[in-house]
């Protein structure tokens, strides 16, 4: 059963326990540059609070609700697409989508072309630019924990239930129930976005005011290049055959060129 996480944005109080749990479980290094940043600062920076050693980030936005500006904390991390662009874009299979949900990365297979970063529909991949031998870094959705029937580190510590771990199908039903009950925006971000993601977001304030890519395609991204790649071998062989025919025909009875 594919797992997922439901993020109920209005329930988040911005305590950042999830960020701490993530750092501890994944043994991410403490980074000097992050020391004095607040959730407001991170929301404004191009990197969205995500860095090689910061796989998740709590960012504060001030969207409008009933004509008034309200504070909302939004957790950012890899969305773990159902059919991920990074997996299909990687020419050395360094990315993999596990049946349980997580999209994981293996640096030992990575060449470092960064096509995945260009392809990611949610721009969550980060690169270790400062290292001589860099890799791509992102949330792995605690793949080893999930494989052992444990929940992700971040959800395990959330004190308010703003992020809950479970079966994606059940979470989706729960999300729709909450939208109705609480009068939320009628959209589960992640249900159809980029063909669906393991992480699902619901909110009482407009998504586009909280840096969500609301205009993202609903078709799975790999479907855009699938047909092309399938046709390529046939086009190649066919074209080579045509060329061979032309070569023989045009060189008939002629002196070969040096």
């Amino acid at each position: 059963m594919a797992k997922g996480v439901l993020v109920d944005i209005p329930k988040c109080i911005g305590c950042e326990s999830c960020s701490v749990a993530c750092k501890l479980w994944n043994e991410l290094e403490w980074d000097e540059q992050e020391k004095n940043k607040t959730a407001i600062d991170r929301a404004k920076e191009p990197n969205n609070g995500l860095w090689p050693e910061e796989w998740t980030s709590i960012n504060r936005y001030d969207p409008e609700k009933d004509g008034e500006s309200v504070a909302r904390y939004v957790k950012a991390q890899c969305m773990h697409c159902e059919d991920p662009a990074c997996v299909s874009s990687c020419f050395s299979k360094a990315f993999q989508k596990l049946p349980e949900g997580p999209v994981i990365y293996d640096q030992s297979l990575c060449v470092g072309c960064r096509y995945c970063m260009m392809a990611c529909p949610f721009d969550v991949l980060r690169y270790e630019w400062k290292k001589a031998i860099p890799g791509v870094r992102k949330c792995q959705m605690c793949a080893t924990r999930v494989a052992n029937n444990q929940e992700t580190a971040c959800t395990s510590v959330c004190p308010t239930g703003a992020i809950i771990f479970g079966d994606r199908d059940q979470l989706l039903a729960e999300a729709k129930k909450r939208i109705k009950e609480n009068g939320y925006v009628d959209r589960v971000f992640g249900e159809k976005e980029a063909g669906g993601t393991s992480w699902l977001y619901i909110s009482d304030t407009p998504f586009e005011q909280m840096r969500f890519r609301t205009d993202v395609t609903t078709k799975p991204l790999p479907s855009y290049t699938e047909g092309y790649m399938k046709a390529t071998p046939f086009v190649g062989v066919g074209w080579a055959a045509i060329l061979a025919g032309l070569y023989v025909f045009n060189n008939k009875g002629k002196e070969p060129l040096d």
């Binding site: 874009s89 990687c90 060129l257």
Partner: protein, 407 residues
């Protein structure tokens, strides 16, 4: 300064030696200088990493090196497969005099691309991974296989020329293999030239609709084909000055007309594409992307077509203008797809990218290395000449300047 080295190439009863020549001119010193600076930067890049030598960042994981060294390098080297198609497969023998130089330029272009890629990727020592770990859903997988195989094929094709002078024993075998190598050597670039365009098709909603289209592969392929003539004109003009060799106008004009034919097809497809997707409003919005898009088409395609099919192309000046405009048009196009096309999206939350000086140095350095290699090879092998196979034993030293063999 003259560098002349004599090496014994065949030991045994019949002693014959081969002379290597490389005359340093001020321009060649400039190339050497830029190349040395680039090598210094490349060393720093390998020791300290990409962050220390480039302005690349998480918003702009691809920058100058990808667009210039790879996208553009491959496109501008398109003259090689185009010429091979016209000369060897279609047997338009009229163009034979430029075949070897066009194919050598292409080979050097690809070597620059491969070197550029090794510098650009993070874990260069893992470059072989895709040969064994097949990410066959990726368009880049195809690009990788085709570019690497095609580079090997081109080296073998050049060996056919090279063995006229050294390792002569292998010449007849290479000559026999040439038809197969030529056909593979046209098929592979056809595939990867188009795939380089298809790479960007995955970035749905990120590239400006003026450039993001299902036609991307066709546009990349056609433009790599028609830029070939432009490159050959420029290259033969430059090489003509440096090596005292001129290609006849009718040969160049014929090529330019073939190229302009492909341009007309390209232009018609561009217009069709705009009609189908309804992007006329974007094209004539006269914001930055629209201005870039229109000037790319006007200066890089429409004016060259006019030059090609008018009396302008019967003069060297006209031909040179055709070359400059066509090449600039394709340069603009490749930069536009990445920088102009993606700028709005990638910079939406304050991201920015301006290539670092060190990035320019490396790109220029790689080009300088290619120029030096071209000059060396053109001076020492039968690239520009009349193409009679040269047999070391029959030829005496012609004059001091072009001594290529000695008994």
């Amino acid at each position: 300064m003259e560098l002349v080295t004599t090496v014994v190439s065949r030991a045994g009863a019949k002693m014959s030696s081969v002379r290597w020549k490389f005359r340093m001119t001020p321009m060649r010193w400039v190339f050497t200088g830029i190349a040395s600076a680039a090598i210094a930067v490349i060393l720093v890049r390998f020791v300290l990493g990409l962050g220390a030598t480039t302005n690349l960042n998480d918003q702009w994981p691809w920058g100058l090196w990808i667009s210039f060294d790879v996208l553009l390098g491959v496109a501008l080297a398109g003259g090689g497969y185009g010429t091979a198609l016209i000369v060897y497969v279609l047997r338009r023998d009229k163009f034979y005099p430029i075949a070897r130089s066009a194919m050598l330029t292409s080979l050097l272009g690809y070597i620059v691309v491969v070197l550029g890629l090794l510098i650009e990727v993070g874990q260069w020592f893992n470059f072989w991974r895709p040969y064994v770990s097949w990410g066959h859903a990726s368009v880049l997988f195809e690009v990788f296989w085709c570019i690497s195989c095609y580079t090997v094929i081109q080296i073998l094709e050049f060996c056919e020329v090279g063995t006229e002078k050294v390792f002569k024993g292998a010449h007849k075998y290479l000559k026999k293999a040439m038809p197969v190598m030529l056909i593979i050597g046209i098929t592979l670039p056809t595939l990867h030239q188009s795939s380089l365009g298809q790479l960007f098709y995955l970035m749905v909603g990120k590239v400006n609709p003026l450039w993001w289209t299902a036609f991307l592969p066709v546009f990349f392929l056609l433009s790599s084909f028609f830029v070939g003539a432009g490159m050959i004109v420029i290259e033969s003009t430059l090489a003509g000055k440096a090596l005292n060799h001129k290609v006849e106008i009718p040969v160049l004009r014929g090529l330019v007309k073939i190229s302009a034919g492909a341009m007309i097809l390209y232009l018609m497809l561009k217009i069709t594409d705009m009609v189908v997707r309804g992007t006329f409003a974007n094209a004539f919005a006269f914001d930055l992307p629209s201005i870039m898009f229109l000037s790319e088409l006007t200066f890089g395609v429409i004016i060259p077509i006019i030059i090609a099919f008018s009396s302008l192309s019967s003069t060297r000046k006209g031909l040179i203008w055709f070359g400059i405009l066509t090449v600039s048009g394709v340069i603009m196009n490749r930069f536009d797809v990445l920088f102009t096309g993606m700028g709005k999206y990638l910079n939406q939350y304050g991201g920015s990218y301006v290539p670092a000086v060190s990035e320019f140095i490396v790109s220029l350095g790689l080009v300088s290395i290619a120029c030096l290699a071209y000059l060396f090879l053109a001076e020492n092998f039968n690239i520009l000449g009349n193409h009679g196979s040269e047999h070391a034993d029959d030829i005496e030293i012609k004059d001091g300047k072009y001594a290529s063999t000695a008994k």
